[in-house]
């Protein structure tokens, strides 16, 4: 197959996100002898194209337009459809982020093709792509293929490796200028309400301490914050505390919400249902504290404590502080 594999890039502070770099690594591997093309939609390309090339893009299709300063669904879908018509990829992949999860299904229907969302793996069998995606609240997996073209997919973070950065890699920049005037007007962004905390805090954290329904209320998060601080980590939550207003929405980790990949994930009062594990299952080591010895979380955890967090977490804090003082 000579048709290129296209990866849709996302930027944060004008640099490709970590998920985008993982996506490029996957695109490069799947493209084989064909090109891996990064599609970049932005108001100001700056150094992003060079970074995309350094991480595996053979070509970068740049659509630069003032309407593309931040994600704008209609403008990005229109731009992506136009790039696809010019570049004719066999496969288009996007990050399974709020951007990709919105963009990919729309792009699929715009191109009268089909899409696989939330993929944990994509492989190639001669002319056919196989998509392994999670379903049933993250509990099951299905492997699917499509008969339409191009095939479109979103890829979950944490399942693929980015290529090491290679500043000497060569690549081509292709400028494209589709007409986005109509798209930009159709849906107007009136106001942005960014979270008080930087999302990178949770997504880049090496240690995450998360609380669930078992905390019983908002106060438990104060204790978890102390533990996170002493461990140099970040605090997160399962969906229930967020829905109940016990903590900020931006702390939600799960099938919807944030995906984290820390070295250490401490789950306190979290049952371990599939839709939560979908957001933290890639953690290298999971530790669980729960009063229920049969909680599903213990099937995921390396170390577990059956107990009341009101006693356990302060005791753990004491242990860590003790060791810090001794060190």
């Amino acid at each position: 197959m000579n048709a290129p594999v296209m990866a849709i890039a996302e930027l944060a502070d004008r640099n490709p996100t970590r998920s985008t770099l993982e996506l490029l690594g996957l695109a490069r591997r799947l493209a084989g002898r064909a090109h891996a093309i990064a599609a970049l939609f932005t108001d100001e390309a700056d150094k992003a194209p060079q970074e995309l090339i350094a991480h595996g893009a053979d070509q970068v299709g740049v659509v630069q337009h003032e309407a593309l300063g931040a994600y704008h669904s209609e403008a990005w879908v229109t731009a992506a459809a136009e790039v696809c018509r010019e570049v004719r990829p066999s496969l288009v992949i996007a990050c399974h982020s709020a951007i990709g999860a919105d963009l990919a299904p729309r792009l699929a229907f715009r191109l009268d093709t089909a899409v696989a969302t939330g993929c944990v793996d994509i492989t190639r069998e001669q002319e056919k792509f196989l998509f392994t995606r999670s379903c049933h609240g993250g509990n099951a997996r299905e492997v699917i293929s499509f008969r339409s073209a191009p095939v479109i997919a979103t890829v979950r973070p944490g399942y693929h490796e980015a290529l090491p950065r290679n500043g000497d890699r060569g690549g081509e920049l292709i400028s494209m200028a589709p007409d986005l005037s109509g798209a930009a007007k159709r849906v107007r962004i009136i106001e942005r309400r960014p979270d008080a905390e930087d999302r990178a805090r949770l997504e880049n954290a090496r240690v995450v301490v998360a609380g669930g329904r078992g905390l019983g209320g908002p106060d438990g998060f104060r204790t978890l914050e102390q533990l996170a601080q002493v461990l140099g980590g970040a605090v997160g939550a399962s969906r229930v505390p967020c829905d109940l207003g016990w903590c900020p929405r931006s702390w939600q980790i799960g099938l919807t919400g944030r995906t984290v990949q820390p070295d250490l994930y401490i789950a306190v009062g979290i049952s371990g249902a599939g839709h939560h594990m979908a957001g933290c299952g890639r953690a290298k080591t999971i530790v669980a504290v729960n009063t229920d010895p049969d909680a599903a979380i213990f099937k995921e955890a390396r170390w577990g404590i059956v107990g009341d967090y009101h006693q356990i977490v302060p005791a753990l804090l004491d242990e860590v502080r003790k060791r810090r003082r001794a060190a």
Partner: protein
């Protein structure tokens, strides 16, 4: 637009997602996940929140007619009845054996065709993803096929004349967007809990109309699973080869045991 607004809510019936996953099994030959017989069938939770969003538009004073639309077998009538008991006005069940094992592509075409047939729709609401497939494709697909403005992951929906104003969830917070209707909006859990049906509304619901349509009535050429774009190669449950080591003793001893292991593993 003056007068009454027409909202169509797309809802899907799924096996109860709160049931333990052990109640499901993999049918390898059929390449499907099968729920234990007798497992309760419910409206997919995000779709329930879409019904709630429609009702809140009415609560805020706008005159609305709310139609709940579902593609499914006869059992899916239960989803319509639940929406009617919440306060929706009428239902449409698209039930035809040709749709068995339809994929998102076929489902979106069928629902879009049903909405065209209903006519006069100003706003389509749907949950952001279904609790069985987790795909999040059909809602956007319906919007694209109808040529509506599409807005995803709403935590709040308001209407103001011919404009729909949506607060939507993005990766680093939320944003407020506006579009002229007709529009399709998908709803996320941030919208808040759906109301439980009152006794009064449940009794009223028994008199509300539910239409039954089959594939031929829809007037689309994509009218059955034969047009599906997706083939299922395999379905499985990932093996969990995990052995959890439990700390023993008092709270202090358990904490000490854990701390020791975390330090030894250089995790903290």
């Amino acid at each position: 637009m003056p007068g009454e607004m027409h909202i169509v809510v797309c809802a899907k019936q799924v096996p109860n997602p709160d049931a333990a996953f052990s109640m499901f099994r993999v049918d390898e030959a059929a390449r499907r996940i099968v729920a234990a017989p007798g497992l309760q069938l419910v409206m997919s939770p995000f779709d329930e929140q879409a019904v709630e969003a429609a009702l809140r538009i009415r609560d805020r004073g706008r005159e609305v007619k709310i139609t709940v639309l579902t593609l499914g077998p006869e059992s899916a009538r239960g989803v319509i009845k639940h929406a009617l008991a919440m306060g929706a006005d009428e239902g449409v069940l698209v039930d035809d054996s040709v749709f068995e094992s339809a994929d998102s592509y076929v489902t979106a075409h069928a629902l879009a065709a049903a909405i065209r047939k209903l006519g006069g729709c100003d706003l389509v609401l749907a949950g952001r993803q279904a609790a069985d497939d987790d795909a999040g494709v059909v809602g956007a697909g319906v919007g694209e096929l109808l040529g509506f403005a599409v807005i995803g992951f709403a935590s709040n929906i308001e209407v103001d004349g011919a404009i729909v104003r949506v607060e939507r969830v993005v990766d680093d917070g939320s944003e407020i967007v506006e579009a002229e209707m007709p529009a399709l909006v998908t709803v996320s859990n941030e919208l808040g809990a759906a109301r439980t049906p009152s006794l009064r509304e449940t009794m009223r619901a028994a008199r509300k109309p539910i239409a039954l349509w089959q594939a031929a009535a829809l007037g689309t050429s994509v009218n059955g699973a034969a047009q599906a774009q997706r083939a299922v190669e395999r379905v499985f449950v990932p093996l969990k080869e995990n052995r959890c080591e439990f700390m023993a003793g008092s709270a202090a001893e358990q904490a000490a045991g854990l701390a020791e292991r975390l330090y030894a593993a250089k995790l903290i």
